[in-house]
């Protein structure tokens, strides 16, 4: 301890005591004078530097990419991949621990948790980072639990030719209330409730073959799946019982009751409450429950993309049910409810806006339309959906009109060539159809793709939105401000990270006429079509997940403090150095991607 090397500081906290002692014994200390280049870009380094005091700038040519302070380490790439990504220059009188490269590389080979920190690939680093994120409140067990551990109902299989009466007997003997039924090479499930309904409500004789009352659309999970996967399947398919397989064999059932004690979120129960709601008022409770579970799932350590998926599923169900409840027959017949923006991409977790709209096949009575617009958006207001700042919602006639009107509107936006118009096109491009005449949206999008195809100048204009917000360098302001003692550094994750990735990928998707709306789906399609290099695709997705993870943490924090304006602000100074390192890598991916988009769509003309 006498040399002050802090083993609690990530990534060194992942080393064993003995490994820490090895590092401590081998560490030297280096002094660097202001302006001195510690590692030059592209050069290898035979030591890993950990800042003790002072400040080190990471520069790429003229551009300052970040400022490293005490406990930050650099440069893993110079050490492992033999070429530094940036110039590292001492900005002040700086002291660093110098950890011998040979030893660090040996530790990387020996200790996988430590090694994760040194991956060049953001997505792999992120996985390690996500695993390191410990759920709060001692809920680790839930995450690591497998379906196998929670399953309490063993599999009993009977042939489809068995009678209803025999099936009932088998249930009682095995003390289960569902059976697997094998019939004509298929496997289905029959429940006690099915038998009861068959006998009592349909009056079927007790010697009816059980196959006749069996349903064969079994939703299943693997015994080795995480419990969380099961929760997701239940929510998505609105099932309260899942078949459990182990390879080819059916081994049992997992029922929602088995999960009840494990997950506080109970999101598998929300679909039932949504579908069961018979009035706008009754939907309020499940609507609130959707939002409440976001925080619980996050605290339980569920990954952010899974939370976005589950939340988006539930929100869509909610909107469909609300539509069914408030839309008059004319609108239900002519209309198509669409979801746009982050909701359309399925990337929203904590609610920030409404982002919905309505397409109509033909005109409907004006009074009915006006009443519907107000009822629909008003209900969402009352459920706590914040009104969309861009006014993208059914209430706004711009976003609830006929297909013909919308197509005209899109053409107008394209010709307008203002950032606002481009943003509207972008929001519409992310639309998914929820219910009603789904084909209307396909038609509108086909028209949009048609208008943009081959129009390089229009595409350049659209792509240029990516330059709306500069990607900041990490901690530049921080050091300057801290040295004069005012303010603190904060990065708007949404503007600096999420938007450039989403919009760049969206632009490429528009260019290629790709229908997918989720950023991950678009990346997959672009990579498959050869428009995007696979490595960059993986990096973009990794970086996006990093930003979403930081954002949800800051959103939950903002909601707790009641300061929604700060929902996307992340303060690097409040992060651990490993987090800062990942954030820095992710921002580097964004900067690189901006250049790719700028070159491909020639946005430099603006």
């Amino acid at each position: 301890m006498a040399t002050g090397f802090d083993a609690q500081n990530p990534p060194f906290d992942r080393l064993t005591q003995q490994e820490v002692e090895e590092l401590r014994a081998a560490a030297d200390i280096g002094y660097f004078t202001p302006g001195e280049t510690i590692i030059a870009r592209g050069r290898a380094s035979d030591v890993l530097h950990v800042v003790i005091k002072g400040a080190v700038e990471a520069r790429e040519g003229e551009a300052l990419q970040g400022v490293l302070g005490p406990r930050d380490s650099f440069d893993s790439r110079a050490l492992v991949h033999r070429a530094a990504g940036e110039d590292f220059i001492a900005a002040e009188e700086t002291l660093c621990f110098l950890l011998p490269g040979a030893l660090v590389r040996a530790l990387i080979a020996r200790n996988p948790a430590f090694a994760a920190f040194f991956y060049a690939d953001v997505s792999r680093k992120l996985e390690a980072f996500a695993e390191a994120r410990r759920p709060e409140g001692g809920m680790e067990g839930v995450l690591r639990a497998r379906v196998r551990d929670a399953m309490r109902h063993r599999a009993v299989t009977i042939p489809g030719s068995a009678t209803i009466a025999e099936a009932g007997q088998a249930m009682r003997e095995a003390d289960v209330n569902a059976l697997f039924v094998r019939s004509d090479g298929r496997v289905g499930v029959v429940t006690g409730m099915n038998l009861g309904k068959a006998a009592v409500l349909r009056g079927l004789p007790l010697d009816t073959p059980v196959a006749e009352v069996t349903h064969f659309d079994v939703v299943s999970v693997e015994a080795d799946d995480f419990l969380f996967d099961a929760l997701l399947a239940m929510t998505r398919h609105s099932k309260r019982r899942l078949g459990v397989r182990d390879g080819d064999a059916w081994v049992g059932f997992l029922e929602d009751i088995d999960l009840l004690g494990q997950f506080a979120g109970n999101s598998q129960l929300i679909p039932g409450r949504i579908d069961g709601a018979r009035s706008v008022e009754e939907l309020a409770a499940p609507a609130r429950a959707i939002q409440d579970q976001v925080e619980r799932l996050w605290r339980q350590g569920v990954k952010v993309e899974a939370i976005a998926e589950i939340t988006s599923d539930l929100n869509r169900r909610l909107l469909v049910r609300l539509f069914e409840l408030v839309a008059p027959p004319s609108i239900r017949e002519q209309g198509c409810l669409i979801l746009m923006g982050s909701e359309g991409r399925g990337e929203q977790t904590v609610r920030t806006d409404q982002d919905n709209g309505l397409l109509l096949a033909g005109p409907v009575p004006e009074a009915e339309l006006a009443a519907f617009r107000e009822a629909f958006s008003g209900a969402l207001d009352s459920y706590g959906f914040p009104p969309c700042p861009g006014n993208v919602m059914v209430r706004n006639p711009l976003w609830s009109q006929t297909l013909e009107g919308m197509t005209r509107q899109l053409r107008g936006w394209i010709q307008e060539r203002t950032p606002e118009a481009a943003m509207n096109i972008a929001i519409f491009l992310d639309a998914v159809a929820l219910t009603g005449r789904l084909a209307l949206l396909d038609e509108a999008k086909a028209a949009l793709f048609g208008m943009m195809r081959g129009e390089a100048a229009l595409m350049a204009h659209f792509a240029y939105l990516i330059e709306s917000f500069a990607t900041p360098s990490l901690g530049v302001l921080g050091t300057i401000m801290a040295s004069v003692g005012v303010g603190e550094d904060a990065i708007d994750i949404k503007k600096a990270g999420i938007f450039p990735i989403v919009h760049g990928v969206r632009t490429m998707a528009l260019d290629r006429g790709i229908a997918a709306t989720a950023t991950s789906g678009r990346i997959d399609a672009l990579v498959a079509g050869g428009a995007l290099e696979e490595g960059l695709g993986r990096e973009l997705l990794g970086a996006l997940r990093v930003f979403m993870a930081y954002r949800i943490a800051s959103q939950i924090d903002a909601v707790r403090r009641g300061n929604v304006a700060a929902e996307a602000l992340v303060r690097p100074s409040a992060l651990t150095s490993a987090d800062r390192d990942i954030l820095r890598d992710s921002l580097r991916v964004v900067r690189h991607f901006r250049e790719v988009i700028g070159t491909r769509f020639k946005t430099s003309v603006f």
Partner: protein
Amino acid sequence: MMGWIRRRLWRAALADPDFLFLLDPPPEGEAVSLDCETTGLDPWVDEIVAVAAVPVVGNRILTSSRFEAVVRPTRMPEAGSIKVHGLRQRDVAAGRPMSEVLPELLRFIGPRPLVGYYIDFDVRMVDRYALHQIGTRLPNRRIEVSSLYYDRKYGKAPPGTAVDLRFASIRTELGIPDLGQHDALADAVMAAMMWVQLRDLQARGQRLRLERRREATAAPLGA
């Protein structure tokens, strides 16, 4: 540099010719940061209980090749000094006698200059054993970090300026973290950190700022 006459005198006093290397020309750009923990502050009576030496080559502090030893004194440390260095009687009892440690320490240091905070005290402590064992004092040049600091901080200060040369004050001013004081190795490492930074400030002609004392009466009331 010691004068020729002094070198001759030192050589004549040296009882053990094995240690003649202490007079070799010191290697360019190298020094050793030295710190001792003692049973008290009187070099004539008190004894060393721990010693640490850390080489500095250029701007690199070689903590990986440091010298550290716990020494068993002839008289056990008393409560007062245990409070300072934290070495209890049973700790130093596990140490080695200075007769064994000193030759190793001298070979480790060689002819290199010695760096430290109040380095004269540490050298005087070592000298007592050296006089006894090899017949002479250490001939090494000494580098005092507090005087380098005084020069950078107070060199052109107006008369009447309050001078503060406490170890913790220097450390704080230079932004060096507290590695735990009164541990021989930590003290030697911190002194080495101070030295490399002060030497660089000196080379660049950069001074440390004197913070101006504001008059207590200047507080505007009712403003």
